[in-house]
């Protein structure tokens, strides 16, 4: 039954791709609607499929199509795949609903059809990556996903920043494919088959090489710190539904990749767990610290995705450490924490991206310094963004907290179980950094919500911003509802799926919160006066309340930026020009203090610079003069004759 349902959803998705492509000739809204509706329906079916698999827990494998003797396309539905199918389904469904309206406002008349087709293709590729059973089809759909998302990122190609984002994104995806290919080929060399079959134990260096290659490949795509640089460029540059899909789902596909290989193929060692844990912690801390200084709303969300991916990697790292210590129940606990956090992050991050997309659409700017006061002008978007902000800052009743507490519990129990003292101190430091990130993310989203929605509008556009049409609210509303329900019923959901976890039952807590607030309200109703009046904000006696006096995003994050100043290295550059030769009479000059992008200026640019220099130097071979070319032939012939004489 599952396989038929799955095939039906694939067929509908394929229809979603083909219809806009065929009709790309005319710029009709109806074709785009049909394609998005197809994506919506197929994600609905996918959600059903994944829920059935999750609840029943039955594993079905199914060979779909044999390309040629060496390579068959076969699907494999188990619970791990079901979780990620659920993620894709929910986010893609809501993004489809959101885009029915959002796309109509985009520029590029006929190209919007391509955008719908691209979204459907992107979703199809991700679905097939998640269910593919052998490594070859995994790589095939992995690259298809990369190419599909590249074309989507390059949608409004004429802007300068999209070009830069496109180059960053394309080069990094090719790098990640390089490593994934290397990993898979080494696995093929070790196991001799392309199936995801456990590696014969006895950790030969090849297996470790395979793991390292796959880990780097997947971290590039997941945006782990040293490789994260494409994320803050790609997400702001692409249209909001696309960046919601990419941030919410594509990063999770990389997480799926590493989980699939860790659980099914490798028998992990201890130091693997430590490596993943450290990568996760560093990405979490640096991700949120960079998010704090960002004043482009989608850039901030992109950096906070890096932070959440770091948290997921912490969960995976812990589960690998526990498996290395053969503590299966704790391992399942932290693995569940990682999976649940991927689901939750997909929900609230795409909610935040969609709502910020509406805000950007309404105010025509992405800079939160020019927003403000939108809570009155866009009430529904404000409420939805608020739910997303509360969820992402892991505040109790909602789903962000439900998954972070799982990771906290596994951290606390890991401290108790680990014997080696130095390792225990490392775990405590990681726990401290993890706590720091969750607190900083709360600060970051207070800043975001405060400077976007509260107080007075700081620019004429945000003063005239109007609420977005209904469809652009339904999509995020579904996600917000999902955030609340998944958070409240997390305990029940887990017991439904068959795990009883040592975590508080958030439903009881939610009800208690409601009870207490209601109690307070009733007591106040009877005891307190009901008189209410509105007047100017207190300005030490002066009645003029200007938007200028408000605390902007920069101001809000300034204390944290000074506290963490060693991380935000600043670069001071100054240039002078003089009238005379002895540089005495100063003519003009400019000085600049700039927050240095450490990774970009010390890692990415030098490497690409070196490559281009090498390219230019080697291109000198092609100097256009026939004599030199013939000289190359002459020299090669002589060397070959000498070698022949010497060898033969």
């Amino acid at each position: 039954m599952i396989v038929q349902l799955f095939w039906l959803s694939l067929v509908i998705l394929a229809a979603g791709i083909l219809i806009p492509l065929i009709t790309s000739g005319f710029d009709q809204r109806i074709f785009r609607q049909i394609s998005l509706v197809c994506t919506g329906i197929s994600s609905l079916l996918l959600a059903a499929v994944s829920l059935v698999i999750l609840v029943t827990g039955e594993i079905t494998s199914y060979t779909a199509y044999q390309f040629f003797p060496g390579f068959t396309l076969s699907f494999f539905f188990d619970r791990l795949a079901a979780v990620f199918l659920l993620i894709i389904a929910m986010v893609a469904g809501c993004v489809a609903i959101y885009s029915t309206e959002y796309i109509e406002y985009l520029a590029g008349a006929k190209r919007r059809n391509l955008l719908c087709a691209g979204t459907a293709l992107f979703t199809l590729a991700m679905v097939l990556v998640v269910v593919s059973a052998n490594t070859f089809s995994f790589v095939l759909f992995w690259e298809l996903m990369a190419a599909g998302s590249f074309i989507l990122v390059m949608y409004d190609y004429s802007l300068g920043e999209t070009t830069k984002a496109g180059i960053f994104y394309f080069v990094m995806t090719q790098l990640s494919t390089l490593f994934v290919l290397l990993g898979i080929i080494t696995l093929f060399v070790v196991t001799g088959s392309s199936a995801m079959v456990p590696v014969p134990d006895g950790s030969s260096p090849l297996v470790t090489l395979a793991f390292i290659a796959l880990f780097i490949g997947f971290s590039i795509k997941a945006g782990i710190i040293p490789f994260h640089k494409w994320l803050p460029y790609a997400h702001p540059a692409s249209p909001s539904p696309i960046s919601a899909l990419m941030s919410g789902v594509m990063l999770k596909i990389a997480v799926y990749g590493i989980l699939r290989f860790l659980l099914n193929v490798f028998t992990p060692e201890l130091w693997w767990g430590v490596l993943i844990l450290l990568a996760g912690t560093i990405s979490a801390v640096l991700g949120i610290i960079y998010a704090l200084k960002e004043h482009d709303v989608k850039g901030m969300l992109a950096y906070s995705s890096i932070e959440n991916i770091g948290i997921i990697f912490i969960g995976i790292g812990l589960s690998v450490i526990f498996t290395a210590y053969h503590l299966t129940d704790l391992a399942t606990l932290s693995l569940l924490g990682a999976l649940f956090h991927s689901l939750n992050h997909a929900l609230f991050k795409s909610l935040l991206f969609l709502t910020s997309g509406s805000v950007v659409h309404a105010t025509h700017t992405r800079d939160i310094e020019h927003m403000g006061g939108l809570v009155h002008r866009m009430p529904w978007t404000a409420v939805l963004f608020f739910i997303g902000a509360v969820a992402i800052s892991a505040l109790p009743p909602l789903n962000g907290f439900a998954s972070e507490i799982l990771i906290y519990v596994s951290f606390f129990s890991s401290v108790a179980v680990v014997a080696d003292p130095l390792f225990k101190v490392l775990l405590f430091i990681c726990l401290a950094l993890f706590a720091l990130t969750s607190a900083l993310s709360a600060a970051c989203f207070v800043k975001a919500y405060g400077s976007i929605f509260l107080a007075l509008p700081r620019s004429p556009e945000s003063a005239v911003a109007r609420e977005v049409p209904l469809a652009m609210l339904i999509g995020p509303a579904i996600l917000a509802a999902a955030c609340i329900l998944v958070g409240l019923f997390s305990f029940q959901l887990f017991s439904l799926v068959g795990f009883t976890l040592p975590v508080p039952d958030l439903l009881a807590i939610g009800l208690l919160l409601l009870l207490m607030t209601a109690l307070a309200y009733v007591v106040l109703w009877f005891t307190a006066s009901h008189k209410v009046r509105t007047s100017g904000t207190w300005g030490c006696g002066t009645y003029s309340q200007e938007p200028v006096t408000e605390y902007t995003g920069h101001g809000f994050s300034e204390p944290i930026v000074t506290i963490f100043s060693p991380i935000y290295m600043t670069k001071k550059t100054s240039t002078w020009t003089f009238f005379d030769r002895e540089n005495c009479i100063f003519e003009s000059g400019n000085a600049e203090i700039r927050l240095m992008k450490i990774f970009e200026e010390y890692l990415y640019l030098p490497v690409s610079h070196a490559a281009t220099i090498a390219g230019v130097r080697i291109a000198k071979i092609q100097n256009g003069c026939l004599d030199t070319y013939l000289l190359y032939v002459f020299v090669t012939v002589i060397t070959l004759i000498v070698i022949l004489g010497w060898f033969a």
Binding site: G373, F428, K447, L454, L456, S535, W538, Q545, Y551
Partner: protein, 313 residues
């Protein structure tokens, strides 16, 4: 949901709501004494709360629903957090109530809403208050989590109820851990309830007020709720400190006499601790904001010291 658990819910909430204003005015009284003045009566906080309930509520022009629901959410979160810290009677934990991480995050929920309310009015005081509040809480959070992890490690459970039960029955901990936990919890109490070295609770001078800055725009019954929730937070953290270090008098089996004795003992221990807090506050001047991280580094040092002693000793 056994009968005595519901009874516990009612008793604990009642004690907390009634007792907490007392401790706040006690601390003010002690500070007044040290400054050579008589200071307001011990029940002054009760009078201000009642007065505020009578006053009309004034909302800033640009403010939104955030300003209106923050007091309610604040008091709700704090009351639920109160259920997590049994003051007198320690029942069996039910449905995860008492989980120490949840307790921490309930306080964070309250802080989140208060910070947003600070920004809502659009005044620079509120903005500065919430920005500084979020920065401090971000820096102190690692220390709190490390202390709670140490507690969980020492008491072998994540639930405050079990911690109090074990400390009540098994008597005093080994002295070094006891002292270190006490000091770290005391520092967390100072920071969380924005006491002197970190922030000055009484003043309205824009440079020194962090907690006050956020509730500057609140008025009438909302201000009463905010004051009450601040007081409850102080009591909870004091109770956490007291019931772990001096568990004398905590009862685990419900009996009328035992309960009354426990409440009276808690009152005494609480007032002693308030006096200590008052003396501590008046012995220090408020630190410059950007020297606070070094204070928190010391707190972090104490909490890691607990771990090292527990782990290696």
């Amino acid at each position: 949901m056994s009968a005595d658990f519901i009874l516990y819910l009612i008793i604990n909430t009642l004690i907390v709501v009634l007792v907490s204003p007392l401790f706040v005015s006690l601390v003010k009284k002690v500070k007044a004494w040290t400054q050579g003045r008589r200071g307001p009566s011990v029940f002054q906080t009760y009078f201000t709360l009642i007065k505020l309930l009578k006053k009309e509520v004034i909302y800033a022009t640009g403010s939104s629903w955030v300003m209106r629901i923050t007091p309610l959410v604040n008091i709700g979160a704090l009351l639920v957090a109160a259920l997590f810290v049994p003051l007198a009677f320690v029942p069996e934990p039910v449905a995860g109530i008492g989980n120490i991480i949840l307790f921490l995050y309930l306080l964070a929920l309250a802080k989140f809403f208060m910070a947003l309310a600070g920004l809502d009015a659009g005044s620079s005081f509120g903005g500065m208050g919430s920005s500084r509040e979020m920065s401090i809480s971000a820096i102190i959070e690692p220390t709190t989590v490390i202390v709670f992890a140490a507690l969980a490690f020492v008491f072998k459970s994540l639930n405050i109820f079990d911690m109090f039960a074990t400390s009540a029955t098994s008597g005093f901990l080994s002295t070094p851990t006891l002292i270190l936990i006490g000091i770290s919890l005391f520092i967390i109490l100072i920071v969380e309830t924005s006491r002197i070295p970190v922030d000055n609770p009484e003043t309205h001078l824009e440079l020194t007020m962090i907690h006050e800055g956020m509730i500057l725009e609140q008025s009438g019954r909302n201000l009463a709720l905010m004051e009450l929730s601040a007081a409850i937070k102080l009591t909870l953290l004091m109770a956490l400190l007291i019931n772990l270090i001096v568990p004398f008098g905590l009862i685990t089996v419900l009996s009328a006499a035992g309960l009354v004795a426990a409440i009276i003992l808690f009152l005494i221990k609480g007032s002693i601790l308030s006096v200590i807090i008052g003396l501590f506050e008046s012995s220090m001047a408020k630190m410059r904001f950007f020297r606070l991280p070094s204070l928190f580094a010391m707190a972090f040092f104490f909490s890691t010291l607990i771990i090292i002693i527990e782990v290696f000793a």
